[in-house]
Each structure stands twice: as structure tokens, then as C-alpha cells.
Symmetry: C2
Subunit: 310 residues, 2 copies
């Protein structure tokens, strides 16, 4: 088990037509207390407050596509960050049209944001790296939807090497950070300790992939192979497979087929059509194909575990 | 008492910074079951559902200005109307920039609305008539805010003349509608009844004025004189009058001063700053100036009565 937090909170698990108790798409990934917001449907700022997430700490926002249920909460969130005095840089990744939508509205409202935002225009392409920081790297997925739509793969960056407790007394305090980063230890008296004698291997990096909205697309398999947690949309049951094809969405069984073929650790279903008050049929048909499937709930937090630990 | 419904439901009474339990500006005026939406902050479609308002029946939407807390819910509402199959015309009145914001987003999302919408660009000017239908006429108010901002005065159009019960037996069924509209009755045998012998005077028309957001502006007085119900923003208490001036908002006492000087029937306060958990100080200072003052609550419905009936 790694001590670093790696959790996903799904704030909205509904589809485009609002359903009572299910909100439009938005989720927060917390990696070592760095917050990444993925999609931002209407009302996301309220959902964040309800979930107890301090949204001023969100540093990066990833928007998959320009359907309203995935981005209409962004302007309100950006505006509230401004009104509450945010000063730190906000990085936004999304379709080029989103930049125009933001700028037209900032101009119309006469708003000069107190913080800077940096916009990265996305053209969906499988496996392309779009972001890297201390904690994660993020690659795109080219989802298959009615308009250009990007999925995201978050991979934990190799963590620091834990110090061996039995060797701790040998390492001076001011050297510990360097040793955790992998350096050997050279003491003033000339003694040399190779790093591997002082540290343990860090846990393997964890990973999370977001696929919403998309038709079933086996081409994604190679790019999400072995992912620890896969969130995949499951708008319909198999009974409505034709409707799924027509609207470029997936059935729960299709989501599970991709999860199985990509040998992911866990599958989390979401983006449920408002027609399903009872989600059990979606879960059942997915589990028949891929047993390690869970339904996502609004406001719930899921820990991402290594696939091997499952 | 008129039998025709004339009610206001305030869906959001908060200001720009979100406050727990208070939503951004939006309200529905119901005049004889015709629904007029005034402002549409983020989450309005959810508030409408919670208030049990069938938003597919909203025919006219009036947006005061381009600050997010007054319009960010519009795209989501328009999109949901589309997804639920609306076909009837929607008329939207708002700042010219709003049209651009709508069109940019419809284009970006690849949405071709199933219904038509007709956009009327507003340039705020006191007393100018912008709309008239069977039930109401609507005039603009030029509010005094940091960006162009329009208030709205709704006036009930003269109602049908109620038939006198004691004369009902004289009026053939197929003539009743004409007599209610004010026509005299000429029977086949040549008998002639002047309309005033058959009908009662209709109740005087009721009126409602919406003033949010605005600095205190005595110039409005002439245009809201004698209004039955005035909704006026009261973002701050007098203790923060300087802040009100700076941000071009009003204090509760200023709202009450306008209500008193314009001799309105009732004053409804709203657009409360998130800093006030307890709104009593706002109510108290307003009532000192104008006793017929009420605090608006999210989701509450207020009947508009004739001023003389107060």
C-alpha cells in the first residue's frame, strides 16, 4: 500500500437529460492532495462544496468535450474562484471552442480575473501526453462521439523511495530527502551506502482512465491496457444498443467488454441515462462480462488501488 | 380579488458569491398560467424542478445583464428543453452579448435546437415597452450597474369583464366571450343590452417590477410609481453603504427608500450578499423606512395583490 492518496470523487454520474439525484458529469481526482477536476457540468461548484472539496485548490481542469453536461459549470466555477480571491494559476485543458466560450463570457461580463489561466487546446489523439507535473502524467484518449471528445489517462509518477526503518539511524536528517529521491549516501567520514541498501522500492504507480462520452471502441484497448481504475460511460443497457450506436454512447456490457479486454483492475460505470431509476440492470449486464465492476454514485469517493492488489 | 393567477416564485435570492442555501438570481412570474422567467443563474433548471414548475411551459425569458449569477443557467435550460422535445417558440430578451454566448455554444456543441428561439437584444432605457401579449406588457428599466443592466416592469393587461350573475340567463352561450371582451349584446328579437348592464368592471391590473442588480437610483421612481410588488436587490446593510456604492449595488435601506418614494404596494428584498447568514438586519433597516417589506426566500411563491388591496 502506498501512503500517497489517490482517490476519485464522482460528483455527477448522470447523462445529458437531468435526472433527480444524478448530476451532470464532473469528478475530482486527488493525487497526494493535488486536485484535478475532470469535466465540469452545471452545478459543479455546488457539488464540490457538498463533497467538502476546497475547490480553490484545484490546479488543473480537464474538459472532455463541448456538450453542455460536461462543461456548463466551468464559467461559474471560474467566476467564484475569482470572487473568492484566487491568485494561483489555473490550467484548463479542453477543446479549442471552450477557450472562445470562456473569453466571450469574460468579456461580456466585464470580468478581469484576479488569477491567470492557461488554456491548452486539445485535439483528441490516443496516447498523446498533454500534461506532466510532480504527481501525475496525463495522456489523451480519442473517444468516439458525435463531436470531438477526449478521454484522459492519469498515471501516478514514480513516488519517492521509502526509507528503510532499520537504516534510518544512519541517514542524517538533511540527507533524507535526497536519499528518498534515489541518491546514494556519502558520509563525511567517507562511508558510502548505495541507495538500494537504504530504501525500499516504491509501490508501482497507480493509474486512472476517464472515458465519457464514447461509443464502444476497441481501439482504446491498447491505450488503457492494465489501468488500475477505468471510469467508462454506460448510458444504456444492451436492450438499447441501437440507441447507443445512434447517439455514440455505450452500453454497460460494452464498457465491461473493453475493461475485460484491456485487463483493467476495476471498472466504474457512470453517465447513466435518466430513464434508469434502478441501475441494477446496468450493473448486472456489466458484471456478467467483467465482475470487478461498480456503479458510481454522486458524491462518492473511490480509492484507486494497484491492479495487482485487487 | 381577481381570479387570474399573478404570482412570483423566487428561485434564487443570493448574490454572486454562492452561499449555502441561497442560489443565484432566477424567478418565475406566473400570470394566468403563462410563465415568464426573469434571470437564470446556474442551476435554475434544477430549482424549477424543485419548485414544481414545468419549465417546458416557459414562453419568455428575460435576462437583466451579463454577470454569471444572472444568466449561467440559460444554456443548460435551453439544452434540456431541446432534449425533452420542446417545439414551441421561446422568446429571449437580454443583452446583445447574450445572443453571441448562446450561438457560440450551440455551434460548439453541434446542437440544432428542435424549437425556434427568438432573441430580442435589449439596450436598457427607462419605460420602453419591449413585449406585449394577451396577459402582460413588459417595460424596461435602466438599472445602474457596472455593466449594462435592465430591470423589468410587468403589467397585467386589462382582464376580461366578469359577467353579472343576475344577467347570465339573458346572454346566449355563444355570445358570452364577446360580452366578456366588452361588446354590447344584440339579441335576434332586436333587444339591445349595453355591455355595462351585463358585466362588472374587471379588477384593476396588477404590476410587478424587478430591479436587480442596481445602485440606488431615484431616477427609477417615476417608472415604478404605484407598482404593486417591487423586487429590489438589497445586497448590503447600511453599514456597507460604501461597498454598495463601489460595486453598484444597494443597501436594504436604499431599496426601501425607493419603494417608499415610488409608493409601491409591497417591497420584496433579494440578492443578499453571502456574508449575511442572518438576514434580519437587512429586513429591520428596510422596514424602518418602508414597513411593507418582506425578505424573499429561495423557492417561495408570493401572490401579487393590488396595491389598494394591501
Amino acid at each position: 500500500m502506498s501512503a500517497t492518496r489517490f482517490t476519485l470523487t464522482t460528483l455527477g454520474t448522470g447523462a445529458a437529460v437531468p435526472a433527480t439525484g444524478r448530476y451532470p458529469s464532473a469528478q475530482v481526482l486527488n493525487v497526494g492532495e493535488a486536485l484535478y477536476l475532470v469535466d465540469c457540468g452545471e452545478g459543479t461548484q455546488e457539488r464540490l462544496r457538498q463533497a467538502g472539496v476546497n475547490f480553490m485548490r484545484i490546479g488543473h481542469i480537464f474538459i472532455s468535450h463541448m456538450h453542455g453536461d460536461h462543461y456548463l459549470g466551468l464559467m461559474g466555477l471560474m467566476s467564484t474562484m475569482h470572487l473568492l480571491g484566487r491568485q494561483s494559476l489555473l490550467k484548463i485543458f479542453g477543446p479549442p471552442e471552450l477557450r472562445e466560450v470562456i473569453e466571450v463570457q469574460l468579456r461580456a461580463s466585464g470580468t478581469y480575473l484576479r488569477y491567470s489561466y492557461h488554456f491548452v487546446s486539445l485535439v483528441p489523439a490516443n496516447g498523446v501526453l498533454i500534461h506532466q507535473d510532480q504527481r501525475v502524467s496525463v495522456e489523451m484518449l480519442a473517444l468516439k462521439h458525435r463531436i470531438p471528445c477526449t478521454g484522459f489517462v492519469f498515471r501516478e509518477r514514480t513516488a519517492l523511495r521509502p526509507l528503510r526503518l532499520d537504516m534510518l539511524h544512519l541517514i542524517p536528517h538533511f540527507k533524507r530527502s535526497a536519499v528518498k529521491k534515489g541518491e546514494d549516501l556519502l558520509l563525511p567520514d567517507g562511508t558510502h551506502y548505495p541507495n538500494k541498501e537504504l530504501t525500499l522500492d516504491p509501490p508501482p504507480p497507480r493509474s486512472y482512465a476517464y472515458c465519457s462520452d464514447t461509443a464502444y471502441d476497441p481501439a482504446l484497448q491498447a491505450f488503457i491496457a492494465g489501468i488500475d481504475l477505468l471510469y467508462h460511460e454506460a448510458t444504456f443497457t444492451t436492450a438499447l444498443e441501437a440507441r447507443a450506436r445512434e447517439t455514440q454512447h455505450s452500453t454497460a456490457a460494452q464498457a465491461a467488454t473493453l475493461a475485460r479486454d484491456a485487463q483493467v483492475g476495476q471498472l466504474l460505470l457512470g453517465h447513466f441515462s435518466a430513464r434508469y431509476r434502478d441501475l441494477r440492470p446496468l450493473l448486472d449486464e456489466a458484471r456478467e462480462v467483467f465482475p470487478r465492476t461498480t456503479l458510481s454514485n454522486d458524491g462518492e469517493t473511490y480509492a484507486v488501488h494497484q491492479r495487482t492488489a485487487v
